[in-house]
């Protein structure tokens, strides 16, 4: 839900979507040979990246609260 609000609030965040997808897929593809484990690993990597972005967003939001 937090990610939804993040994406709704900042239009330019949408530019990160193709980047996250391609980085996750390429990273996962260097760890596996078959396509299925690549896709599973990529989904997990993408979730980690998105989670990290949300974390940074929350930290920045808290740090600049009231400014």
């Amino acid at each position: 839900m937090a990610a939804f609000f993040l994406f709704a609030a900042i239009a330019q965040i949408w530019y990160s979507v193709p980047l996250v997808v391609s980085v996750s897929l390429v990273y996962a593809a260097t760890r596996h040979e078959a396509m299925q484990p690549i896709l599973v690993h990529a989904a997990r990597t993408a979730a980690w990246i998105a989670g990290f972005m949300v974390l940074v967003f929350v930290v920045q939001r808290v740090a600049t609260w009231g400014l």
């Binding site: 980047l19 997808v21 593809a29 260097t30 760890r31």
Partner: protein, 249 residues
């Protein structure tokens, strides 16, 4: 054991998926595969007949690279390592190109354009200036190129959006027929508020805004991702360990 044929098994624990058994992987000539992977993302894997991964690398890396160019135009990829101690009066080191060059052939026109524009005498960039570096203060260029940048037209046909055209007073003709890009005129006030360091790169940033930076980031990341793909073509997946290939019975 064949030098290029490996029997790979998944790593016992750290893999995201459960072990899927052993996979025979024929890397063929791994150095050639690595070179092909750099030249055209995915080509090294196609050479090794790893079509699924080759397609994935090609789509992801080339897609990222050309999406970056779509965002910020071909101007986000240029090769320039010009120091202010040379004949130029400004420093213009495009370190981003070191990452972009990882994408191989798609980024190589920048080297051709840089060579043409920085040669003595200078040559007009090819391909309508695709990946040509910006003009910086003190740079020599051709009448043809300066004319295009001022008028935005070639043979009456518009080739530049208005926001990318340069003022005529930013060029000064030299006696030998060459043209010097002088940036803001040295004497007298600038009519449009150009500061003393103004150059063609300033115009690009002003025209594209944040998209220029985004395009730069996308093309850089594409080049960096291709380094992973090159390694994969050269050595196979990184979390696997190699076992000796069993001798044929």
């Amino acid at each position: 054991m064949s030098d290029s044929t490996e029997l790979l098994s998944p790593a016992p624990s750290s893999s995201a998926a459960p072990p899927t058994g052993e996979i025979h992987l024929d890397l063929k000539d791994r150095w050639l595969a690595g070179f092909l992977a750099w030249l055209i993302p995915g080509a090294g894997h196609f050479y090794q007949r790893r079509f699924g991964k080759g397609s994935l690398f090609a789509i992801c890396i080339l897609g990222t690279f050309f999406y970056g160019i779509f965002l910020g135009s071909s101007r986000v990829v240029y090769a320039s390592f010009r120091g202010s101690d040379g004949p130029w009066k400004q420093d213009d080191s495009r370190w981003a190109y070191l990452c972009q060059a990882g994408a191989g052939l798609p980024a190589l026109p920048a080297l051709v354009q840089a060579w043409r524009m920085n040669s003595n005498p200078p040559r007009t960039p090819l391909w309508a200036g695709w990946m040509a570096p910006p003009l910086i203060k003190g740079q020599l260029t051709t009448k043809d190129w300066s004319g295009r940048l001022v008028s935005g037209k070639v043979d009456g046909k518009e080739v530049l959006p208005g926001g990318l055209m340069l003022p005529a007073d930013s060029f000064r003709e030299r006696g030998d027929g060459a043209v010097v890009f002088q940036g803001r005129p040295a004497v007298g006030p600038s009519s449009d508020g150009r500061d003393p360091d103004w150059n063609e790169l300033s115009v690009w940033h002003n025209h594209y805004g944040a998209l220029y930076e985004l395009g730069t980031v996308f093309t850089m990341i594409a080049g960096l991702l291709n380094i992973l793909a090159i390694y994969d073509a050269w050595g196979g997946p990184v979390l696997f360990f190699n076992k000796p290939h069993p001798a044929p019975k």
